[in-house]
């Protein structure tokens, strides 16, 4: 998925479908970002399928073929446990976060799935401190598609910001 070549032809019907899918993916990203930027972490699992997979992986581990994730969830149970822990049990200073998602590309699709990638930046602001770049990375996504509705079947976030500034509370 990570290095998938564009296999979509340049024919007119394909281009129209591609524009439509890119718009759907973009809308999905914007809603995902809005929910996380409001810190409504307990709504985060709603963006995934029941068997959805989430991985947050440092770029140096990804490049070296090392499997460790900074956060990893296999299925709705683990997604909800992560969300619950952040909402109710973790100790952290209050923060504002802002996702900026761009360079969206749909690299493959069929009737039921869309494969896409996008770059993301997460900005974080703590009290008395200037805003910092918490994460710069790429989403490698596999969406399940039902009609016009997308859900994440697999999201692999690979971050360039390998040296994490203190900690990452909310999943990018």
């Amino acid at each position: 998925m990570q290095n998938a070549e564009r296999i979509i032809s340049n024919s007119a019907p394909d281009r129209a479908r591609l524009r439509e899918l890119r718009w759907l993916v973009e809308e999905f990203h914007f809603e995902y970002a809005a929910v996380l930027d409001r810190c409504e972490i307990e709504r985060w699992p709603d963006f995934f399928t029941e068997d959805g997979v989430y991985r947050l992986v440092a770029r140096d581990n990804a490049d070296a073929g090392l499997p460790l994730s900074l956060m990893s969830c296999d299925g709705m149970g683990m997604l909800k446990d992560r969300a619950y822990a952040i909402a109710h049990t973790e100790m952290f200073a209050p923060r504002y976060i802002k996702h900026l998602i761009s360079n969206i590309r749909v690299t493959d699709y069929d009737a039921r799935t869309v494969t896409a990638s996008a770059n993301y930046i997460v900005l974080e602001t703590l009290i008395d401190e200037p805003t910092q770049i918490l994460q710069a990375g790429t989403y490698h996504d596999l969406f399940a598609m039902e009609g016009d509705k997308l859900l994440i079947k697999e999201r692999r976030c690979v971050y360039d910001t390998v040296l994490v500034p203190n900690c990452i509370v909310f999943p990018p």
Binding site: L56, A58, D60, N61, A64, L66, P67, L68, S69, L70, M71, S72, C73, D74, G75, M76, G77, M78, K80, D81, R82, Y84, A85, H88, T89, E90, M91, F92, A93, V162, L163, V164, P165, N166, C167, I168, V169, P171
Partner: protein, 424 residues
């Protein structure tokens, strides 16, 4: 070959008398703020502790399994390279070209025949020996190095090495006691319970900066008091509660410690100590309990063990998570933390997946990692922005047995050793 020049010029520039204004408090429970905030103290720590008579963790052998493999690492704040030569020997040397000082290796890990500084292509072998210099005899008989220039006098600065069961330590001090004597029998037996001679498999590395003094991290893992209060995750699921069977032991000098815990089966519903723990969430149930599931794999009594090895290593086994945390100081107010996570080479694929899943607990995005990293930032924010006063480590008594949980005993013992090492 060892360079006699001090690595830390700024430390050398300060006369020893310049810290006479810093007076250690008389009460042994008090720790002065300036050990966490004063630049002069930091510089002395670097010289006397990290570059002094200590064994510093630098790498796992599993990170450089084959001849030519290397990783970037650090002793104190100084970037080094740990490499395996063609004969299989491990070397550690400074990542700084002998010529113009360039930090020439800018990759986390790799495999190579030689290190070539990109600036003027001075070339070193896998032991750090200078092999060749371009235009050594100049061009057309003019220029080049002086006739008496000796390549073998310009080795990259080497460190002494000690390995035990796949773990590599380095020291700049030439007359070091053995690693085994340095750790002492109590710590050594706990160390060997994780590193039992089996080959290791690296699962990955987390890295984070921490806006806090490096000693706070050592203290945090010598502090069983916080574990029962800050970490809801531990208390709720019985990974660590005050009523668990616990022991905290130190080496004879008090610099290393091992904080061992035996988790009861199931949740700690009947533990009286829970009433005092605000973080206990009786309603919290995991939807997917695989994250905390214990798969028995060692035949010793402790289900978790935090081993603090002075000055730069935390060795942590929690349930089925195995990990090292390498402390890289960066001034009084900051350090880098490198978390190396591993399993055993003979793990089944299921066990490897289990360890990876369980690692949601640790790292700078982990259920415990977030709590700790935030709490230590809170401490440093408080220390650096308030009117200085002495902090307190008053809990428990020094003559109590190893089983007392609500105690600062191991923090006090660390500072007794620290004062001696620092001449304070």
């Amino acid at each position: 070959m060892h360079n006699t020049r001090r690595l830390d010029d700024s430390a050398a520039a300060h006369p020893e008398t310049s810290i006479v204004d810093l007076k250690w408090p008389d009460d042994p429970a008090e720790i002065p703020d300036w050990v966490y905030t004063d630049q002069r103290i930091y510089e002395r720590e670097h010289e006397r502790i990290f570059l002094g008579p200590t064994w510093n963790y630098v790498a796992l052998e599993a990170e450089l399994p084959r001849p030519g493999d290397y990783i970037r690492s650090y002793i104190g704040s100084i970037p080094i390279i740990v490499a395996r030569d063609q004969d299989g020997r491990v070397h550690a040397f400074e990542n700084r070209c002998a010529h113009r000082g360039a930090e020439f290796c800018k990759t986390y890990r790799g495999s190579t025949q030689r290190f070539i500084c990109p600036y003027h292509q001075w070339t070193y072998d896998l032991s750090g020996a200078l092999m060749s210099v371009p235009f050594r005899r100049g061009v057309k008989g003019k220029g080049g190095l002086p006739e008496d220039f000796k390549l073998d006098a310009h080795h990259l600065r080497n460190l002494n090495i000690a390995c035990r069961n796949g773990v590599i330590f380095a020291s700049r001090h030439d007359d070091m006691e053995s690693l085994e004597a340095y750790l002492g029998p109590v710590i050594l037996s706990q160390f060997d319970s994780i590193f039992d001679g089996r080959d290791l498999k690296i699962l990955g590395v987390h890295r984070n900066t921490m806006p806090a003094n490096w000693k706070l991290y050592q203290e945090n893992l010598k502090d069983p008091y916080h574990a029962t209060l800050l970490h809801t995750y531990l208390t709720t699921f019985g990974l660590f509660v005050a009523g668990n069977k616990t022991a905290i032991m130190t080496d004879a000098k008090g610099r290393h410690a091992t904080l061992c815990n035996a988790r009861p089966a199931g949740r700690p519903e009947n533990d009286d100590s829970k009433a005092e723990i605000r973080s206990f969430h009786a309603a919290m149930q995991l939807a997917d309990p695989r994250v905390i599931q214990l798969i028995p794999e060692h035949d010793h009594p402790w289900t978790s063990n935090a081993i603090t090895i002075w000055p730069n290593l935390i060795l942590l086994r929690q349930t089925n998570i195995l990990g090292l945390r390498h402390i890289v100081p960066a001034g009084p107010h900051s350090f880098m933390l490198i978390w190396t996570t591993f399993g055993y080479a003979d793990d089944t694929p299921e066990m490897e997946q289990h360890r990876l899943r369980q690692n949601n607990i640790f790292g700078p995005g982990g259920f415990l990692g977030i709590d700790d990293n935030e709490a230590l930032k809170f401490v440093q924010d408080g220390l650096r922005r308030s009117v200085p006063r002495h902090g307190l480590a008053p809990l428990g008594r020094d003559d109590e047995g190893a089983e007392t949980v609500i105690t600062d005993r191991a923090i006090r013992s660390m500072y007794r050793h620290y004062r001696e090492a620092m001449g304070l």
